[in-house]
Subunit: 382 residues, 2 copies
């Protein structure tokens, strides 16, 4: 996983419009590969900051650009794309907004030259925003969806690669590859439906579950375990930004939420039926089990690391004193035993000055790991 | 965190009814502390297995018991408690079921001596079940809710400890303490409302989100990131067991889910309004932002490690080659720098043979960690 100078070498001069986190990170990455980068932002402060962190020089309009990357906020991206298409009549124009169908439609409706617009969505980000938080390597190892704007409907893709990828699509793919990302070709509508299910619906679910805790008492919330923490982790999000993202993908998200509400209604009805005579209650338990079973089937669809099918790892849990150096000792011991850690999680029990470390390994390695840890004095608990 | 022989010393002979994972784990822990334990289970196989792993001898009824722990499945727990109260007229009887109000009510309705029944809920478990999966230290560092059955309503607790805790409640608290758990006194109804919000509603939400993925395409699910994985992790659960758990806590769960559905309806209505004239759309964006903001407020209620208020840690992310020994090297380097790791997560990007390690530290330690890692050749990315 690294930046790719070969892919960067053919990009020509790149104009970055919008020097926020994503735009500036792209600029930094390209600059580190020797690509000529010029910058533009309606905010003089943001522009100056991006220049100061080494992202390139403000665009004086004195040289032709071959690629424009629009890193504007989602609600103005389409308008900026249309302007850039008109002002740079030879250039390929791409963007980084997290919803794609509406932008392509708006560009088309405004009479923009859609043959030169190729939508993009690098699936990377961080908690902080703005040019100062930017990193040349923000996109390393992340998927970067590339949506040719001609393909408005589902099923248009994958493009038939036997005849080669259209040149402007290939340019955006090279941009992604240059920055160490994995380009993924998708139709805009397919992308939007996908992010509704894998990103927007989970966000709403996390927020709705977490919202139930606003009025909970201290003793009750003190019982919270890792399950609640996992489900609600992404609820710690920016409301204004998410209102914009959800609004931009309103139709696919609404459709998915209506399906979810139908299942939720079934759960609520089943719970209500449990007060009824025995027959109704038996059916109610079956309905509850069905929802949980469907969730398990859906969970199995999520690929594991490296994009391979999900492997069911085995978790070995051990106690770790809460002091510097203890995790180093743990991983030393695991490494000495020649065992590869697939996943790792550290959890702390309430009121206790000790952590529970969950080490996930391939099932075949479980016994060896338990043995190695016990032999080295670790307290393996599960 | 350890087993507590002093607390165990006063328990007398303990009878375990139901030698599944929890019952057998309790038996193993008590035996390791020198407590006399006798076992009972309707399944001769489960009973023999528990004896064989060292959990104690089958109860021949030839000695008086002072404490009975009922580890039966939730749907028969109340009935077993009633039987045990009758057959051991001096003993304190407790249980380990995950829902408490219904059991206390059923015991009372059946004419059981509720003055000797003290409900319990050790908040521990593992993926595997049965006596062979049992561990003496399963409860180390976990909360163990203790519900005196006299307190059926909310607000009865905390008990006024100035006059001391009732003796039978104290016995169950000592059981929890002996096994290294943290006893938490709560009224049964408060407990059930708490677990509805912190365990049962998150479980349903995770299942509902994961169920949306059953029909998703491979390219779409390939975009899944850590957010989706976190939200759906607990969806990988046993449908039959969860049907039983949810059914046993039907009223509090239904109430919480109806509140959740009202918020969900507001989201769906807001998304629908975005196709309307501009005024409606502005109100819709505000409604979406409100839901996300409420979720963030609720999320802030979840305590962090050690039961202290949630500290907002800073995350330093670094690339880790996917080979044995690399995590050891990472934690060696962190330990050498004298930095304490608060939380740790390992993530893998699709298609890439490298992991992203997120090291959470106190804000004050962030710069030192970044410096220490960079100095030692680590590729810090965020």
């Amino acid at each position: 996983v690294s930046l790719d100078p070969a892919a960067a070498g053919v990009l020509g001069t790149v104009r970055i419009v919008g020097t926020g986190l994503l735009g500036t990170s792209i600029a930094l990455g390209l600059r580190s590969l020797g690509v000529e980068v010029v910058l533009s932002d309606p905010s003089p402060t943001a522009l100056a900051l991006a220049r100061d962190v080494g992202a390139g020089q403000p665009d004086r309009g004195d040289r032709p650009v071959s690629l424009v990357v629009v890193g504007a906020p989602p609600d103005v991206t389409a308008q900026v794309v249309v302007t850039e298409l008109a002002e740079h009549p030879e250039a390929t124009v791409t963007d980084v907004a997290s919803v794609k169908g509406g932008i392509a439609a708006a560009v088309r409706a405004a009479g923009g030259d859609v043959s030169r617009y190729v939508g993009g969505h690098p699936m990377a980000g961080r908690e902080r925003s703005g040019p100062v938080a930017a990193r040349a390597d923000l996109f390393l190892g992340r998927p970067w969806v590339v949506c040719p704007s001609e393909s408005a409907g589902p099923g248009d893709l994958p493009v038939d690669l036997s005849g080669g990828v259209p040149a402007r699509v290939e340019t955006v793919r090279r941009l992604a590859t240059a920055l160490g990302a994995t380009p993924v070709l998708m139709a805009a509508q397919d992308h939007d439906e996908a992010v509704a299910l894998i990103s927007h619906v989970p966000q709403i679910a996390a927020s709705l579950v977490a919202a139930r805790l606003v009025k909970i008492g201290d003793p009750a919330v003190g019982l919270a375990g890792q399950g609640l923490r996992d489900v609600t982790r992404i609820a710690d999000s920016d409301p204004a930004l998410w209102a914009q993202i959800l609004a931009a993908n309103a139709t696919p998200v609404r459709r998915a939420l209506r399906d979810l509400r139908a299942d939720l209604d079934a759960v609520i009805d089943a719970l209500a039926a449990l007060g009824e005579p025995a027959d109704a209650a038996i059916g109610a338990r079956a309905a509850l089990a069905r929802i949980v079973a469907e969730g398990r089937s859906g969970r199995e669809r999520i690929p594991g690391k490296h994009g391979e099918p999900l492997t069911v790892y085995e978790v070995v849990t051990t106690l770790v004193p809460d002091r510097p150096g203890q995790l180093a000792r743990l991983f030393d011991d695991i490494g000495e035993a020649g065992i590869n850690v697939e996943e790792f999680a550290l959890e702390h029990a309430p009121g206790q000055k000790v952590g529970l470390a969950g080490v996930s390994v391939l099932p075949a390695a479980r016994a060896a790991l338990e043995h190695a840890l016990a032999e080295r004095g670790w307290h393996v608990v599960a």
